[in-house]
Amino acid sequence: MIETIRIKKGFDINLKGKAVKRIEEISPPETYALKPTDFIGIIRPKLMVKEGDTVQAGTPILFCKKNEKVKYVAPVSGEIAEIVRGEKRKLLEVRILADKDIKYAPAKKYSSSEINGLSKQDVARILCDQGIWPNIMQRPYGIIANPEDEPRDIFVSGYDSSPLAPDYDFIYQGQEQYIQTGIDILNKFVKGQLHLTVDADAEFSKVFSQLKNINLHKISGPHPAGNVGIQIHHIKPINKGDILWTTTPFGLAQIGKLFMEGKYEAEKVIALTGPEVKNPQYYKVRTGTSIKKILENNLLSDNIRVVSGNALTGEKIAKDGYLGFYHNQITVLEEGNKPVLLGWFKPTFKELSLHRALGLLSFLNPKKTEYNLNTNTRGDKRAFVLSGVFEKVLPMDIYPTNLFKAIITEDYDEMEALGIYEVIEEDVALCEFVDVSKHNIQQIVRDGIELLQNS
């Protein structure tokens, strides 16, 4: 019997545009991109290819000078079409013109007995060379893990509680054996255990329930219950000096495929979601895919924002932009760039709020009501007026207001004492959502993490 962790704090943002469980076939896109900006912790990316080079799926494209072993590879085979740079020649995108038939860079296949015989060092080298390592993240800091560390535990979240998040049971169906191999391989690294947490409020996950060599947990409650950081906090919190790793079911499956099939497989199922999508549904794509064809003829209006990822933590991309490395969801929202007369005063049932101040009546709606939220900030930036609301949406034994203030004042000791090691951006995304004074809390937390990292 698995004990259920119950959390009460948090908030479910029920947006319109949930993906229907059906995988829509589309013709493969022409271009793909690897975006160094997707990887937190990359400081000085070094290119290993130039425009005009041909690559195969799994060919290294760049590495970071800070950790040269970890390679970032091409998701598909084809020709390097364009290298996009921004201000100060910052590397933004490496675009690949894809072949019709994907050719894979050669890699060795391993039988399960061979896998058992591999040492930790061998595995680390293979994962780094083949471009799969960036799936493994380190806590504290939420950066790409260092292959030489020995993590205390490894945590995986078995579901996503973010707004309109894809259903893991649906997108990972049929991947059980790869995920199992991924678990067996990561078990070579860990001092303690591998932990995987599933949603206690849904049917016991078919994909994850049969897994072995892993500690299964159940968690119940509103978002951010599905965040791995929250799960770690309730299972075995991060302390000063600890190093933990986290990864995703996708990362586990990709590791499994590399060893079992001998190829870097970037294929994944993603959800196209959001209030501005005509037919929200799932698509089978590859990491870094151009989203142009997916959005074509599938949008309700023109004044929109395309987000790679979910509405709380994702990144704005162009309508013909590219899916982020870690994302398995696209959210399309209305751009809220129109002023509203006395908008701050108007009573409204349509706009979602955790609060119940004057005119905010959404709390009277049935729980299942779906909202069409746009990207308007709904108010302007003001000084922090404490309203005790951050505390209601962070299900951790942490005082968020005090932590944010410690970061703003750059007080290192306070940050550490107040628990900065336990959070990353996604854990405080709801604090940012509910903030009355409209601060960019996620950025504040990342700034704090960087301060500590570089201290």
Binding site: K240, W344, R356, S387, G388
Partner: protein
């Protein structure tokens, strides 16, 4: 809608960099954001959707919670006036007299306060915070109806400048701004703010039997073998200081503080909307009641013997508990801290009332005192959290 939008857009260049009124940009911004929810969108990274709340909605909710007490206060000013001169008139005439007296006080408070906010906003180049929406309403409710308007102006100016702006503006102040105004009046004009100031006579002469003393003044003046309840019962008019009348609030006092009933309606609004902390409100009442009981136990003088529940309906306790102590900027931030903070405000209020001979009301000083201690309470509660984290690490 379109017309207003065009008007604002036409005026805007005058206030932007290089425009004629460049210095007043943030004042303009204040008005603009008041008129419109702007078309600003979330940044490309971080949350893409935001909660519909903003500071304006939060603040206006508090103002709305004060409306019942304000309306009742206006009526009561007229009611006390006609009681004093011995005339019986209808509801609307009473309300009208009060309205005529109270409205100028409200206007002066807002005009002076907002004027200063605009000046500071322009000098310091930061957006106008909506905090004064609440403060501007609180100040008129804690002063006597007969207060000269220049005193209102002076107190408001003092409170906004010394109480708030010197600390860096809304959100940074240590003391509750409205109470700073009240304290300023109390210490700067002690003579003017005591005695027969609670009732407006106009050019009329009060009837002989009338006494405009507040219940707390009567209680504090009780001496010798008589009891407070006995003195209450011997009021100039039968039932004037009865528990019921004190609860309803048809007694002399500051404009908004007399009616516990109307204030409780505001408390329910604040509690239901979660804008004000129910924990603080509740624990202030509990603290006051327990301190009342402790005094009952000793019973060394008639005031100490006054039944504890009378403390809850007299003076400004309810108003302070609901509208002043819950100010999120100056109260404790931690949830545990709110219980402690409120509880001590209650205790101190009754302590000051009963033991301090100079001034019959204690809630003002109690809240200001606890304002100073709020960060300390939080400090220890947060310290306990840090300790938990540290202990975990050594295991």
């Amino acid at each position: 809608m379109k017309f207003l939008e065009d008007l604002v857009n036409n005026l805007k260049p005058n206030f932007e960099k290089g425009g004629k009124f460049e210095k007043l940009y943030w004042v303009f911004e204040g008005f603009e954001t008041f008129l419109f929810q702007m078309g600003t969108t979330t940044s490309g990274k971080g949350v893409h959707v935001r909660d519909a709340i903003d500071l304006k909605r939060l603040m206006i909710t508090v103002v709305i919670a004060m409306v019942p007490a304000t309306i009742f206060g206006m009526w009561n000013v007229g009611h006390q006036h006609f009681l004093a001169i011995g005339q019986e008139v209808g509801f609307w005439l009473k309300f009208w007299i009060g309205f005529k007296l109270v409205l100028p006080i409200i206007i002066v408070s807002y005009a002076v306060g907002l004027g200063i906010e605009f000046i500071f906003t322009s000098i310091k180049k930061h957006p106008i915070a909506e905090g004064f929406l609440v403060t501007g309403m609180l100040i008129p409710l804690v002063v006597p109806p007969t207060i000269p308007l220049w005193q209102v102006a002076l107190a408001t100016a003092f409170a906004v400048i010394i109480g708030k702006e010197v600390f860096g503006g809304t959100g940074m102040n240590i003391f509750n701004v409205a109470l700073t105004a009240r304290a300023f009046l109390y210490f700067a004009y002690p003579q003017e703010i005591s005695g027969e100031i609670w009732t407006y006579f106009g050019d009329q002469v009060p009837i002989d039997s009338y006494s405009g003393a507040t219940a707390l003044a009567v209680a504090a003046a009780t001496e010798g073998s008589s009891t407070v309840l006995g003195d209450f019962a011997n009021a100039w008019q039968e039932g004037f200081y009865s528990l019921k009348n004190l609860f309803i609030g048809a007694v002399p006092g500051s404009i908004g503080e007399t009616s516990t009933f109307m204030i409780l309606i505001g408390a329910v609004i604040l509690w239901l909307t979660r804008v004000g902390s129910g924990k603080i409100m509740f624990s202030v009442f509990v603290g006051a009641y327990i301190m009342g009981l402790i005094f009952n136990f000793f019973g060394a003088n008639p005031y100490m013997e006054m039944p504890a529940h009378y403390h809850l309906v007299t003076g400004g306790l309810a108003f302070g508990a609901v509208f002043m102590a819950t100010d999120p900027v100056t109260a404790t931030q931690t949830e545990t801290g709110k219980w402690i903070y409120g509880f001590f405000i209650g205790i101190l209020t009754v302590l000051i009332r009963v033991l301090n001979p100079a001034y019959p009301e204690g809630i003002m000083l109690a809240i200001l005192l606890m304002n100073t201690f709020a960060p300390l309470i939080d400090f220890y509660i947060v310290k306990a959290n840090k300790k938990r984290r540290l202990q975990r690490a050594t295991v």
